[in-house]
């Protein structure tokens, strides 16, 4: 628990390295784009909950950025797949 923020930072860096490595591929397949968008969602959620410290705030204030994130990532997914 004491190293929570270090763990969050490490996860964020790891997922960023994963995204960067995907960038080396000439063509990113559909499942990989889905995974990339899912990891982007996780990264943003970690920033909202831990760095912005909204995890211990009344739900409505936490829900606003989470709904924003869900709608944005979902519509980006729609733009790429449909």
């Amino acid at each position: 628990m004491k190293r929570t923020f270090e763990t969050v930072w490490l996860i964020l860096v790891t997922l960023t390295i994963f995204a960067f490595l995907l960038g080396y591929l000439k063509y990113i397949s559909t499942p990989l784009v889905a995974i990339l968008l899912a990891t982007t969602f996780i990264k943003a959620l970690l920033v909202i909950d831990y760095f912005m410290d909204l995890r211990n705030v009344r739900l409505k204030y936490r829900l606003i950025p989470i709904i924003w994130l869900s709608v944005t990532v979902s519509l980006i997914t729609v733009a790429y797949y449909f």
């Binding site: 960023t16 960038g23 831990y50 760095f51 950025p65 733009a79």
Partner: protein, 199 residues
């Protein structure tokens, strides 16, 4: 087994006004993100070809730099929040060191971005070159201005910590600035894969 109930805070950290600004900024950027994504859909080949000129490495380094700066800001806020009435000097000093590191990261981000812009403009590219570059310059240019403003805010907070200005019951100012800085980080986390990686 005993269950610990965590009392939820009534309001988000910092001044409530900053959260109104943050929510508005998030919506504004979301519209730009979606404008980019749906415009790309209409001309995938053009977007994929134009994207090749961007340096994914500088985008990647900038992401790491912003994430790390956000972490430093979290450490600074926690230093201030953990002070006692007697130890305010020690914790203000500690917070100022974390903030200095965060500002160095902010400066590094801006420098990398300036060199990227110089390269792009050097290639004769501008807002009217094509739709991809229009969105690229709007999104990253707008974000650049937010990082610049965030760095100025961090500098002001830093100066206050140097004057031992935060006390054990007065840390709303640092929380306000920190929230803005994390928003800048949050926006880049979506911008990076969208503009630099996905094709």
């Amino acid at each position: 087994m005993s269950k610990t109930l965590v009392q939820k805070e009534q309001y988000p950290p910092g001044d409530f006004a900053i959260w109104i600004i943050i929510y508005v900024e998030l919506v504004t950027f979301a519209l730009l993100f979606l404008g980019y994504a749906f415009s790309r859909r209409a001309d995938v080949a053009l977007f994929n070809e134009s994207q090749l000129l961007l340096s994914q490495t500088s985008g990647f380094i900038n992401t790491i730099v912003l994430i790390t700066s956000s972490y430093f800001v979290v450490k600074a806020v926690n230093s201030i929040k953990s002070m006692t009435q007697e130890s305010y000097k020690e914790f203000n000093t500690q917070a100022s060191k974390w903030l200095l590191l965060a500002m160095v990261c902010g400066g590094l981000f801006l420098l990398i971005k300036i060199s990227e812009f110089s390269y792009i403009f050097g290639e004769g590219i501008n807002l009217s070159t094509n739709k991809f570059y229009m969105f690229y310059l709007l999104l990253t240019g707008f974000h650049f201005m937010h990082v610049l403003l965030g760095s100025i805010i961090l500098f002001n907070i830093y100066q206050k910590t140097r004057r031992f200005g935060y006390r054990f019951n007065d840390y709303k100012g640092i929380e306000t600035g920190a929230s803005y800085w994390h928003m800048v980080d949050l926006l880049w986390i979506i911008l990076f894969p969208l503009v630099y990686i996905i094709r």
